[in-house]
C-alpha cells in the first residue's frame, strides 16, 4: 500500500465515526465513545508492542497512572478538568519513565515480567493508600470536575463526551500516523527488527526504547485520564491485570497496519464482547479465547508470528 492510500485508510475510520454520529442510536453513541477512549489506549500499547516489539503486561498501570493523576487532582487540588487532564498525562509520563527505566534494560520475557510486576506494584500502592485513592472501591468525581461539564450549557452530556473522545482519537491517530512516517518511527521499528545491528550503527537503542515506552505511556495515560474525567469514577479496578491483557488482544486482532490496526482491533473485540453479552458469562471468556486462538494461529498468521517471536523470543 503506498503512502497516500495508507493515509486515506488511516483517517477514514475517524471520519466515518464523525459522519455517522447524527444517525447513531443512543446506545451506539455511548458505546463508541467508550471504545474510542480505549482505542487511544490501544494505540499507546501498539507503539510499545507493535513498533518496538516490547510485549508489556503492565500497561494497565500507565492507564491507571493517568486516571489517578487526573482524578486525584480534581479531588484534592482543583476541580478544573483541563489542568487535571494535563496532570494525568504528566503522571503517566513520569510513571512510564520509571517503569521504562526498569524494564527496557532487559528484553523479551524479562521485560514482560518486569512490567507485570511494576503494574502489580502500582495496584498494591493504590490499595495501600486507599484513604487517598479510594482503593478497590474507588472515588466518584464531582460533576463540575468532568470534561463535559463546561460544555453542558450547549451540548448534552453524551454529545460532548462523543466529541471529546473523537477529537482525542483524531489527535492520537494523527500522532501515530506522523510517527510511522518519521525517522523516529523507522528507528523504533529497527529496534524491533534488529537491535544489535542498530546498535552497531551507533544508535543508542536503550534511549530509543525508553522514549518509545514513555510515548506509549503518554497515550495510555491520556486514555486513563479521559476515562476518569468523562465518566467521573476512579478506582483500582482499572489497574488490574485484565486491563493489561486486553490491549494485547486488540493489537493482535487489529492486524499489521499500525495506523488503523489498534482502532479496528479494539472496536472489533469490544463489539463482539458486547454482542456476546447475555449469551456468555462474562466477556473475559472472549478475551481469553481470542488470545488462545491467536496463539494457535500465530504460526500461520505470519504477521502475528513475527511480532510474537521478536517480542518474546519464545515462539520458535
Amino acid at each position: 500500500m503506498n503512502g497516500l492510500a495508507r493515509t486515506i485508510v488511516t483517517f477514514s475510520i475517524p471520519a466515518v465515526l464523525a459522519c455517522i454520529y447524527p444517525i447513531l442510536p443512543e446506545y451506539a453513541k455511548f458505546f463508541l465513545a467508550r471504545v474510542m477512549i480505549l482505542s487511544v489506549y490501544a494505540y499507546g500499547y501498539a507503539i510499545c508492542f507493535q513498533m518496538l516489539g516490547m510485549l508489556s503486561l503492565g500497561h494497565a498501570a500507565l492507564f491507571a497512572a493517568g486516571m489517578y493523576g487526573a482524578g486525584l487532582y480534581t479531588i484534592y487540588a482543583s476541580p478544573s478538568p483541563l489542568s487535571a487532564l494535563l496532570m494525568g498525562v504528566a503522571a503517566a509520563l513520569a510513571f512510564s519513565l520509571a517503569m521504562g527505566l526498569l524494564s527496557t534494560r532487559v528484553g523479551g520475557p524479562f521485560l514482560t515480567i518486569t512490567t507485570l510486576l511494576a503494574a502489580q506494584a502500582l495496584y498494591l500502592v493504590a490499595l495501600h493508600f486507599n484513604e487517598i485513592t479510594g482503593g478497590e472501591q474507588g472515588i466518584v468525581l464531582g460533576r463540575e470536575a468532568t470534561l463535559v461539564w463546561p460544555l453542558s450549557p450547549w451540548l448534552g452530556e453524551s454529545d460532548s463526551r462523543y466529541l471529546f473522545s473523537l477529537v482525542t482519537l483524531v489527535i492520537a491517530v494523527t500522532g501515530v500516523w506522523a510517527l510511522s512516517r518519521s525517522r523516529l518511527g523507522k528507528l523504533f521499528i529497527a529496534v524491533r527488527d534488529d537491535e544489535e545491528k542498530l546498535e552497531s550503527l551507533g544508535y543508542n537503542t536503550a534511549t530509543l526504547k525508553l522514549l518509545g515506552f514513555a510515548l506509549s505511556g503518554v497515550y495510555s495515560g491520556t486514555a486513563g485520564a479521559l476515562q476518569a474525567l468523562l465518566y467521573s469514577y476512579v478506582g483500582a479496578g482499572y489497574a488490574g491485570i485484565l486491563n493489561s491483557v486486553e490491549p494485547v488482544l486488540w493489537v493482535l486482532v487489529g492486524g499489521p497496519l499500525i495506523q488503523v490496526g489498534p482502532l479496528l482491533g479494539c472496536m472489533l473485540v469490544n463489539i463482539i464482547a458486547d454482542l456476546a453479552r447475555g449469551m456468555l458469562r462474562g466477556h473475559v471468556l472472549i478475551v481469553g479465547l481470542g488470545l488462545v486462538l491467536i496463539a494457535f494461529a500465530a504460526g500461520r498468521l505470519s504477521w502475528a508470528y513475527r511480532l510474537l517471536r521478536r517480542s518474546t523470543g519464545l515462539v520458535s
Binding site: Y27, L124, G135, V140, S158, Y238, R277, R281, L301
Partner: protein, 438 residues
C-alpha cells in the same frame, strides 16, 4: 498446487470470510440491531410490562453472592407476577452480568437504559460497581437501587437517582449492635478490620458509637488487602480487652484457624460480622474456634432465629430450607443475611410505582416516583418485607431496620438479640432532596 499454497489459499479465504463477518457485525451493530438478548423472566401479558434492569454479579469475585441475588430476584418477580404484577402490569426482569467490575458495571447501566429502556435498575452489591454505576444512572436519569449496605448512598457520594431502601447500611448496622456489645460483652474493644473503605466504615461507626456509649476502642488493627496470613498482626491484640471485633479481613478459614492457635482458650469475647462467613457452612473445618462467639446477622440464617410466617413464605418461594441452605442441595448455604435486600427492593419499587401512578419512563412520571419514594418513611413487616419493618429516610435515600446478634452454639447460629430500629439511627447532614432531579 502444493500443500502450503493450498493452506495459504484456505487461510486467505478464511480471513476474507472473517473480515466480511466482522464488517457485517459492525454494520448490524451500528444500525441498532442488538443480537444478544439477556435473560428475561416475566409474563408476556396483554399490557406493556414494567421492565426492571438487574445488574448482577454472575462472574468475578462477587459471583457467590450474585448466584443467590439472582435467584431471589427471579423468585420475587415470579411471585409479583402471580399476584397481578405491578399496577396491573406484568414485570419483566432484565438481568445482565457486570462481572463484579466497575468498568463493566457502568456499561451495564448504559445497556439497560439505552438498549432495553428499563424503568428501574436494581444495582449491585460490591461498592466499586455501585460507585462507578451511580453517576451513569444519574446522567441517564434512571432510578438506581443499590443493594450494597455501603455508605455511598446515605453519605451523599452518589446522586438523587440512587436509593438504598432494601437494607440497612453499615454505619446503621454497627451503631445498633455496638450498643449491645458494650452493654453485654464489655467496654474495652479491639477492632481488627480490612484496610479499605468497607473496614473503615466499620472502624468509624464503631468509634463513634463508643464515644456515645462511653466505651473505649483500645486498639485498631488494620489488615492490608490481599493479606494471606494474619498471625503477624495478632501480637497487637492487647491483653486487657473485653471484646475482639473482627470483620472480613481476608480468607476467613485461615484467619479463624490462626487466631485459634494464637489466642487458645484464653480468648476475649469475640464479635464478628457474618459477611466473613456468609454462604459458608459453619461446619467448615477450621471454624470450630468460632464456637461461643457472636455475629451480626442481617436476617438470621436459621429459621428459628426469627420464625415468622413471612420468613417461612420467603424461604419457601426462594427455595431455602430452615438452615438457610439450598432446599435441593443442603451443602449450598445461601447469602441469607444480605439477599433479602433484593426481594424487599423489588417490593419497594412495586409500592412506589402503585402509589405514584408511574407509568412511562419520562420526566413527569419520574418526578412523581422520586417524590413519593422520598416522602416514604416506613415499610411494614410482611411478605413484602420479611426481614422486618423499616424506617426510610428520604433525605439520605436509606432504610434503617432491625439487626440481629447471634451466638455460635453447637455449630449453628442462635439469635440472642434483635435490636430496635431506633438503635440503628445516626445523624448525617446529607440531603439528596436539595439536588435538582433534572
Amino acid at each position: 498446487m502444493n500443500r502450503r499454497k493450498a493452506l495459504s489459499g484456505l487461510l486467505k479465504t478464511g480471513v476474507l470470510v472473517a473480515g466480511a463477518a466482522g464488517a457485517g457485525a459492525v454494520a448490524g451493530y451500528l444500525t441498532g440491531s442488538v443480537l444478544s438478548r439477556p435473560t428475561e423472566v416475566g409474563l408476556t401479558g396483554e399490557s406493556k410490562p414494567i421492565k426492571i434492569g438487574f445488574q448482577v454479579h454472575r462472574t468475578g469475585i462477587g459471583a457467590p453472592y450474585g448466584f443467590w441475588y439472582e435467584r431471589v430476584a427471579n423468585a420475587a418477580v415470579e411471585y409479583i407476577n402471580r399476584i397481578g404484577g405491578i399496577a396491573g402490569r406484568p414485570v419483566q426482569l432484565i438481568a445482565e452480568d457486570d462481572e463484579t467490575s466497575p468498568a463493566r458495571g457502568a456499561q451495564v447501566v448504559e445497556r439497560l437504559v439505552l438498549v432495553h429502556n428499563v424503568d428501574f435498575i436494581i444495582g449491585a452489591l460490591f461498592s466499586d460497581v455501585v460507585l462507578s454505576s451511580g453517576p451513569r444512572a444519574g446522567e441517564l436519569k434512571r432510578p438506581y437501587f443499590a443493594v450494597s449496605e455501603g455508605t455511598h448512598v446515605p453519605f451523599g457520594l452518589l446522586n438523587r437517582w440512587c436509593f438504598q431502601p432494601g437494607i440497612t447500611d453499615v454505619p446503621g448496622q454497627v451503631t445498633a449492635i455496638a450498643k449491645w456489645i458494650f452493654e453485654n460483652l464489655g467496654k474495652r474493644v479491639a477492632i481488627i478490620f480490612p484496610d479499605y473503605a468497607f473496614g473503615h466504615d466499620h472502624r468509624d461507626a464503631l468509634t463513634k458509637a463508643a464515644e456515645r456509649y462511653g466505651a473505649r476502642i483500645v486498639e485498631q488493627i488494620p489488615i492490608p488487602p490481599g493479606e494471606t496470613s494474619f498471625t503477624k498482626y495478632f501480637p497487637k491484640i492487647p491483653r486487657e480487652i473485653d471484646v475482639l471485633y473482627h470483620v472480613m479481613v481476608g480468607d476467613v478459614l485461615t484467619f479463624v484457624r490462626e487466631l485459634g492457635v494464637f489466642l487458645g482458650r484464653n480468648r476475649p469475647e469475640m464479635f464478628g460480622f457474618i459477611d466473613s462467613i456468609e454462604a459458608i457452612p459453619l461446619t467448615a473445618p477450621g471454624l470450630e474456634f468460632l464456637e461461643g462467639t457472636y455475629f451480626w446477622e442481617g436476617f438470621p440464617r436459621y429459621l428459628d432465629g426469627y420464625d415468622t410466617p413471612y420468613n417461612r413464605f420467603y424461604r419457601d418461594v426462594v427455595g431455602v430450607d430452615e438452615n438457610g441452605a439450598d432446599r435441593s442441595d443442603p451443602s449450598r448455604v445461601s447469602a441469607f443475611s444480605h439477599m433479602f435486600s433484593v426481594w424487599e427492593t423489588l417490593f419497594v419499587i412495586k409500592e412506589v410505582v402503585e402509589q405514584s401512578g408511574y407509568s412511562e419512563p419520562n420526566r413527569r412520571d419520574y418526578e412523581l416516583f422520586v417524590k413519593v419514594l422520598e416522602s416514604m418513611d416506613w415499610f411494614n413487616e410482611g411478605i413484602w418485607h420479611p426481614q422486618g419493618d423499616k424506617m426510610f429516610n428520604g433525605k439520605l435515600h436509606q432504610s434503617f431496620g432491625h439487626q440481629f446478634v447471634s451466638k455460635v452454639r453447637n455449630g449453628r447460629l442462635v439469635v440472642v438479640k434483635r435490636t430496635e430500629i431506633e438503635d440503628s439511627l445516626y445523624e448525617h447532614p446529607n440531603d439528596y432532596t436539595a439536588q435538582p432531579l433534572y
